[in-house]
Symmetry: C2
Subunit: 192 residues, 2 copies
């Protein structure tokens, strides 16, 4: 019975992640989540107190898919790891008809002004991510592969923002052009 | 009577722009728009066939506030005009408690995957904007103020994306840091 409850929570949480990614926050109803999870609507509230709480769980699970570990993996030049990280992240949007983008950016755009818990979770996710990117840039500077005068804090924040914007533009354009422009300018100009 | 109808449409359209900017697409109800316009709910459908149609009108009106004319105004160095354009655009978000951001980017993030009319309107808006930015970069190259080897098409698309992402990050962070990073890296590194 305990096992059953745990696995039902897991199914609902996974369905919530998938529904929020596909539909956004306001267009996702509890019934969309329970239908996708194949559970009765009422069972949602056995596991989550609100749609907001399930969105916070979805954000946390989404953050675990960002593969920040790719940025810190030893043995490869820092800027190559950074490029591979974004190539990995871009795959989901570019290989699936230019949909979904980044859950953190999407919830940031849609909900940050109106829900302090979700805003704060997006902020923490961005902070953690920018901090990993900055560490890669510092490492590249130490290896002599990057201009030592570059402000790594500003550059990391900028690269993260530019990535979020490129995914939105790719979805609006239904093309890879904005993501290609990101790689061209970030790796060919900013980090040259 | 005709005048009355025209001014009521204007009031509804202005209220729709304000509500979509403040709430996003899915969180905005027709009644939010008519309440903000101070008109009976039923009168909405005398002027717009659907919420989507009013959002398309809002996007068109929003595009008119972007002041693309600042980019083409004669008599100032091209890159100074570009910087002033983004300083102007950033004011709305930075001076109002880090809310709202860009309506085109917000609708792109929230609705582009699900509504082809709105996606296409966002795409056209981005295309027109990127084309203006590119023209500024070409002019700067011709004046010798910008590296002639920079791919102006990619750079214009990238700068626009980076701007959209910076506004989202500023709202999530409730700080100007992402927008400051945009100015620092775009004008200090990409266009140096």
């Amino acid at each position: 019975m305990e096992m059953g409850r745990a696995s039902k929570r897991e199914e609902i949480a996974q369905a919530a992640l998938q529904q929020f990614r596909a539909r956004g926050f306001n267009a996702t109803g509890i019934s969309d989540i329970t239908k996708a999870a194949g559970v009765p609507k009422g069972s949602f509230y056995n596991h989550f107190s609100s749609k907001e709480e399930s969105a916070l769980e979805a954000l946390s699970r989404y953050a675990d898919t960002l593969r920040l570990d790719m940025l810190t993996a030893p043995g490869r030049p820092a800027l190559e790891r950074l490029r591979e990280h974004f190539e990995y992240l871009g795959g989901d949007t570019l290989d699936n008809g230019f949909v979904r983008g980044c859950l953190a950016g999407n919830l940031g755009a849609e909900v940050a002004d109106h829900n302090e818990e979700i805003r704060s979770a997006v902020q923490r996710g961005f902070d953690r991510w920018a901090s990993h990117i900055r560490q890669v840039l510092v490492e590249a500077q130490e290896a002599g592969d990057l201009d030592g005068a570059l402000d790594t804090t500003a550059a990391a924040l900028f690269i993260l923002s530019a990535w979020e914007g490129a995914l939105i533009a790719a979805r609006a354009d239904k093309s890879a052009a904005p993501v290609e422009a990101f790689f061209h300018i970030v790796f060919g100009v900013v980090l040259r």
